[in-house]
């Protein structure tokens, strides 16, 4: 039986097939945005051809297909979601518009020449109905069912496809939202009805409502894709199961994703760090910075002790999304990033990108100088073997483009290219430092795992700037996210808000909340045919000093929470606070706000085929030599053929390794060892 991972990106649909022999094969097809299943099937078709099987026989032999997709993210970012209405507590219909007075994240406070935020649901589709619950969960005003019915009918008349329901305190008292959803289903059955307590049953209405609205906004597009994709796969002969990659770094069945479309944001990039963890475990690296440098963006995830961090402090474009997501820090830096000269006469690279269309100047269509153009001019990229020669690169076009920034800076084209290379590396290195220090870690205690199309060219230079000793580049780096999917666990996060001081915590209530969440989790797993004893549960709680506004998440051990247990939890909280923020105050009172549970089940392990072993000398794989520029000096550099390297080969920098989909730069001062799973381990 085979397993397949598919990552539907903005430009390409990547497909990785793992067959019975442990061999990984890579396939790519253009993404088809109007119906992403077309591109997915095209990629599978290519794979079937290589395996010399008809499609139905090939698919019949696949027992598991894991899929990430940028569909939800792109739908949100391009504002092409469904017409959405909001039914909310009367007198509070502007929560998602006032949005806590937040200016766009990342725009300087001195810049006021920006357009106002447009909420996903315009004001005339936000309808208040009479109902009110108080902070303790008691009902002040029962739900006015007649108004709710009228609101649903009005949204129907307006042509909405989906209705979000968000009432104050629904995390304490979900009954009003539940009843409203029933009423919507009754009078407007064709709409998707999405309630806030289902999406995010925790306190703070702005964050809960906006997350729910985002979910409702992308729901129809996602639901259409999921149902269409599953049925077309079945028709094509697929009999296995489909699992979707979630924002939180776990996977779920298609059924579990319906009605919760927001959980598919960042599906794809969220998978990458799982690959890094898996690699790290194989090679014996504890702490890993996973970097993924693609065409337009650079993603950083920090993995400490094998744990992939998640956060609920997320922005996707200009929208706040408060579900747990893998803590991926993204900046606009990639192969397509454009170099420009700013108002102070300084060279900048990114965040603007030439994207896939027109793409870097050297692809032949664009005219703006990009990172890829600089890499080409410096000799790091082969003009004749980019994607195995599928895309010939035009060195003259790259030089012409770079001249546009070189001239005003009084530099030669080579100098400008070198400066672009260094600048983008520093932008990325700064981002890595920011991510690490925010969590109180020293970058030098980490190893780097680099993926993405451009990552292997830039990784070593970033590591050099940061003092990171080891860089690992997997040979499947170009399909980094798809690779990560093989290593992901099935599961979901659960959360319940209960705000109480530690000294008056009702332990029965806490234990009841955990029992409720566990029952929900076991039921979801039972639906997937996963037995209770193979589900692993971890618990945590959000805690803070009384008076603080932001919480620290503290892990809680299994079993009933006892009074002594609370003491241990408090100790752990003080320690965690000290580590994150350089101080703690054990003499102050502490309060709990949200109790969390994560239920997961590991998938069957997978093993990759080992490559043949050779000696240290890589000479047999020497393909050619080329002039490359390092720190302004032209160096005659050996180029190795990645397909011919053997385990145990050692390559001293400066050198370049070319594979069909990846080019690895080994700068001077680095030594690259090839391991038996075909990872390139660079050490300085």
């Amino acid at each position: 039986m085979k397993r397949i991972c598919i990552d539907i990106g903005g430009t390409f649909t990547d497909c990785l097939v793992l067959d019975e022999s442990g061999t990984l094969s890579l396939f790519k097809a253009p993404t088809t945005p109007d119906n992403p299943t077309d591109g997915l099937l095209n990629a599978l078709q290519k794979a079937a051809q290589v395996y010399e099987q008809p499609m139905n026989a090939f698919l019949g032999d696949v027992n598991l297909l894991m899929q990430g997709t940028t569909l939800a993210t792109n739908t949100l970012l391009t504002r092409r979601g469904a017409k959405t209405g909001l039914i909310t507590t009367k007198n509070f219909r502007d929560v998602i518009d006032l949005r806590r007075g937040i200016r766009p994240v990342g725009v300087s406070m001195y810049n006021v020449f920006i357009p106002p935020y447009e909420p996903l649901v315009p004001r005339w589709l936000r309808l208040g109905v009479d109902e009110r619950v108080l902070y303790d969960g008691s009902v002040l005003t029962p739900l006015n069912e007649q108004e709710t019915r009228e609101a649903a009918l009005k949204l129907k008349a307006e042509g909405c496809q989906t209705v979000a329901v968000g009432f104050l305190y629904s995390y304490l008292h979900p009954e009003h939202e539940k009843r409203a959803v029933e009423i919507i289903k009754e009078v407007f059955p064709e709409a998707h009805a999405i309630a806030s307590h289902e999406i995010l049953p925790v306190w703070r209405e702005f964050e809960r409502f906006t997350t729910t609205v985002v979910s409702a906004y992308v729901e129809p597009v996602i639901a259409r894709h999921l149902t269409n994709m599953e049925s077309r796969l079945r028709n094509a002969g697929f009999k296995g199961s489909v699992l979707m990659i979630l924002a939180n770094g776990m996977v779920q069945t298609v059924n579990q994703c319906l009605g919760r479309a927001v959980t598919l944001l960042n599906s794809g990039p969220a998978a990458a760090p799982s690959g890094a963890v898996h690699l790290g475990r194989g090679i014996g690296l504890g702490n890993v910075v996973s970097v993924d440098m693609g065409g337009t963006s650079f993603d950083v995830v920090l993995v400490k002790d094998g744990v992939i961090p998640t956060t609920s402090e997320n922005w996707v474009g200009d929208d706040r999304v408060a579900i747990k997501m893998v803590d991926v820090h993204t900046i606009g830096a990639g192969g397509g990033s454009i170099a420009w000269i700013d108002s102070l006469g300084l060279l900048r690279v990114g965040p603007g990108s030439a994207g896939a269309d027109p793409g870097p100047a050297c692809y032949g269509k664009g005219v703006e100088p990009t990172t890829t153009d600089a890499d080409l001019v410096l000799g790091y990229l082969p003009h004749d073997y980019f994607l195995g020669g599928d895309i010939p690169l035009d060195v003259d076009a790259a030089r012409r483009a770079i001249k546009k920034v070189a001239d005003p800076l009084g530099m030669s084209v080579e100098e400008a290219a070198q400066s672009m290379f260094t600048t983008i590396n520093h932008v990325m290195a700064d981002q890595i430092t920011a991510v690490l220090t925010k969590r109180g870690f020293d970058v030098r205690d980490f190893s780097m795992v680099a993926g993405g199309g451009a990552g292997p060219v830039h990784a070593a230079a970033m590591a050099q700037a940061l003092g990171i000793p080891t860089v690992v580049v997997p040979s499947v780096a170009a399909l980094y996210s798809a690779y990560g999917m093989f290593a992901m666990d099935i599961g979901r996060d659960y959360a319940r808000s209960y705000i109480s001081r530690a000294d008056s915590l009702d332990l029965d209530k806490v234990n009841a909340l955990y029992a409720e969440m566990e029952a929900e989790a076991y039921a979801a797993f039972a639906d997937m045919g996963v037995a209770k004893d193979s589900v692993s549960i971890t618990r945590s709680a959000d805690m803070r000093y009384v008076g603080q506004f932001h919480e620290v998440e503290v892990e809680i051990s299994a079993g009933a929470v006892s009074a002594d247990g609370v003491k241990d939890i408090l100790q752990a909280f003080h320690r965690q606070h000290e580590r994150l923020f350089e101080f703690s105050m054990p003499f102050l009172k502490v309060e709990f706000s949200t109790f969390r549970l994560k239920a997961s089940s590991p998938k069957a392990p997978f093993a990759l085929k080992k490559i043949a072993t050779g000696g240290k000398d890589p000479a047999a794989a020497l393909k050619r030599r080329r002039k490359c520029i390092f720190s302004g000096t032209s160096v005659d550099t050996p180029i190795y053929d990645g397909e011919r390297l053997l385990a145990g080969n050692v390559i001293e920098g400066p050198a370049i390794i070319e594979e069909r989909t990846t080019t690895v730069l080994v700068p001077a001062g680095f030594r690259c060892t090839v391991d038996e799973l075909k990872n390139y381990v660079l050490q300085q």
């Binding site: 007198n91 509070f92 502007d94 929560v95 518009d97 006032l98 949005r99 806590r100 007075g101 937040i102 200016r103 300087s108 406070m109 001195y110 810049n111 006021v112 020449f113 920006i114 357009p115 106002p116 935020y117 315009p122 004001r123 005339w124 902070y135 104050l168 306190w203 703070r204 209405e205 702005f206 964050e207 700013d342 108002s343 102070l344 006469g345 300084l346 060279l347 800076l409 400066s419 260094t422 600048t423 520093h426 700064d430 430092t433 920011a434 220090t437 925010k438 705000i499 000093y545 009384v546 008076g547 603080q548 506004f549 932001h550 994150l580 923020f581 350089e582 101080f583 105050m585 102050l588």
Partner: protein, 582 residues
């Protein structure tokens, strides 16, 4: 770009590392503070200065808190000459000896040494939950002199060579309400300065002192050149503007005026506030450093947005701020200063923007909503503990700018959108208040070709028995914020208390006793408009009507756009006729 000593890449890297450090400092405070104003509302500023007081990095904060901080840095370096060492932390909130805008804004300064040499100062300044004095919060309108406004701390060492001077801090904490809370916030702020120290020293280790200092002076020069080039594009001349706060809180109903003559001469900008009122008995007096910070921020708003990420000493070199000692914009001891960050801080920014909008229409920025703040001091019957309620929740929105409508939901100009609102669920869980209604208002913004962001209606019931409310941080019942280039001004604001059948109007700058079940109602103005309302695209007016931000009546009377009440479509013909008739 001739004879540059540092390569551009290094320059870039060093510069952005310093900016990043400030963002990290703010993040640390943001995540750990307990005071509502700091933790939720971001009433906090951080930055890095050279030891001689040149502004290096000030990416985000409140102008009054940090854009004039070079004056405090200079005071401190002078006072402690030769007596500073690594691990020291200096605290001050003194307007007259520590250049602080008002007493609640405690500033923790840390000298940054490298190889024994004092190179930089870093600052974390934030509005404390309490600073002592007659009433919590610092906006008490009727103080006799500065001493009645709270504990006044001249620049003193509170950490010495890495050790807390606990006895000193205990003396200070003993002067304030909620000392445990203030203690958390102080720890957060000090931790942020420690983080800055680590980052800056690491940067110096990596590039060496000479390179880092060269990068900084190179950046100053580049920024100065760019800012001067911008100023050079403004036609030479003198542009006047004036703005007033409703009163000074002591002498009631007499507006207090800030007046500006802004002169553009080649590539220099001279802001002369000499015609402003003399300093007042009431608490609306701004120290020079506060006036300076607000004025610089307002100028920055109208410069090329591409410069926004860079502002530093270079920006300031091109701008001169003149404010005569003893005036309401440069007050002397023992004047009270409690409300200065809002009133007259807001007026200072307004006159600069008003004058610059006249001078450079394509960068016009209209007034933002007036702050509608208050402080309520009471006991929470649920816990028996004292609490202070304050927020920016009820504030209106941003003013229009050339090209865009005002940004909705932002608080007043003096915060530049750096502060946040709270959640209903957080407020009601925390304090004994129930919010009844919180939505945008219709027609409560300055109309214009680009209109101001909408005003806000806020109504809430207090069930905390006897309480006292200070409306010192409110303004704008009488005096309106300007509209630019023929745009309408910000509308008037109102606050009421409903007690049973009785409804009482509550004016700004007053002390008001409250009872159980009092309902507080606030109408906050939106922002001002830019350009004549009759020049607004009828399609935009139609959308505003659909959103119920503009009424059909105002569409017709103010915007000269006729909207069919049934279909909500624009009646093109009637609109053309109406617009032509004028």
């Amino acid at each position: 770009m001739a004879d540059k000593k540092v390569d551009l890449t290094t320059l870039n890297t060093v510069w952005h590392s310093l900016q990043n450090t400030c963002m990290e400092m703010r993040h640390l405070i943001d995540r750990t503070a307990q005071n509502y104003l700091i933790g939720q509302l971001h009433d906090v500023s951080v930055g890095i200065w050279t030891a001689t007081g040149d502004t290096v990095a000030v990416p985000v904060g409140l102008p009054v808190q940090f854009l004039g901080a070079q004056f405090a840095v200079k005071e401190i370096v002078k006072k402690f000459q030769g007596n500073l060492e690594p691990g020291d932390v200096i605290l001050t909130n003194d307007p007259y000896k520590g250049a602080t805008g008002h007493l609640p804004d405690w500033g923790f300064f840390r000298p940054i040494f490298y190889k024994g040499e004092l190179l930089f100062m870093t600052l974390a300044r934030a509005h404390q939950q309490d600073t002592g004095g007659a009433f919590p919060g610092g906006y008490f309108p009727n103080a006799y002199d500065i001493h009645a406004e709270g504990v006044m701390i001249p620049p003193i060492k509170v950490w010495s060579a890495g050790r807390e001077r606990t006895d000193v801090m205990e003396l200070i904490w003993n002067q304030v309400r909620f000392p445990h809370g203030v203690q958390i916030d102080n720890a957060a702020m000090i931790a942020a300065t420690k983080l800055a120290d680590q980052r800056v020293v690491a940067l110096l280790d990596k590039y060496g002192k000479d390179v880092v200092m060269e990068c900084i002076s190179d950046m100053f020069e580049r920024t100065e050149r760019a800012v001067r080039a911008e100023i050079g594009m403004i036609p030479d001349g003198t542009y006047a503007a004036e703005s007033a706060t409703d009163d000074d809180g002591t002498e009631l109903d007499v507006p207090v005026w800030v007046r500006l003559d802004l002169t553009v001469k080649g590539d220099q900008l001279i802001l002369d506030f000499s015609r402003s009122d003399a300093q007042r008995k009431g608490f609306v007096n701004s120290i020079y450093a506060g006036t300076y910070g607000n004025a610089i921020a307002a100028v920055c708003m109208t410069l090329d947005p591409a410069l926004a990420d860079y502002h530093n000493e270079g920006t300031q070199r091109a701008i001169t701020v003149i404010a005569p000692e003893g005036s309401v914009v440069a007050c002397k001891y023992p004047a009270t200063v409690g409300a200065a960050p809002v009133n007259v801080g807001n007026q200072i920014m307004e006159v600069v923007l008003d004058a610059l909008s006249k001078a450079r229409p394509e960068r016009a920025v209209a007034a933002w909503s007036k702050h509608r703040g208050d402080y309520v001091f009471a006991v929470d019957p649920r816990t028996g503990e004292r609490y202070v309620r304050t927020s920016f929740d009820y504030d209106g929105s941003g003013g229009a700018v050339w090209g865009y409508d005002g940004y909705q939901g932002l608080s007043g100009l003096t915060t530049l959108g750096a502060v946040n609102r709270s959640n209903v669920e957080e407020v009601e869980t925390r304090i004994p208040w129930r919010i009844i209604k919180w939505e945008f208002l219709t027609d409560q913004m300055g109309a214009g070709r680009w209109r101001g962001g909408p005003g806000v209606y806020w109504e809430a019931e207090h069930y905390g028995r006897e309480a006292a409310m200070a409306t010192g941080s409110s303004d704008g019942d009488e005096m309106l914020g300007f509209g630019a280039l023929g745009g309408e001004p910000t509308p008037a604001c109102r606050t009421y208390i409903k007690r049973g059948e009785e409804t009482m109007r509550i004016r700004p700058h007053r002390m008001v006793p409250m009872k159980d079940n009092d309902v507080v109602i606030k109408f906050s103005s939106g922002g001002g408009g830019v350009g004549p309302a009759s020049g607004r695209d009828p399609e935009m007016v139609r959308m505003d009507v659909k959103k119920e931000l503009v009424s059909i009546k105002a569409a017709r009377e103010t915007y000269k756009v006729v909207i069919d009440p049934e279909t909500l479509e624009v009646d093109r013909k009637a609109t053309e006729e109406l617009r032509a008739a004028k």
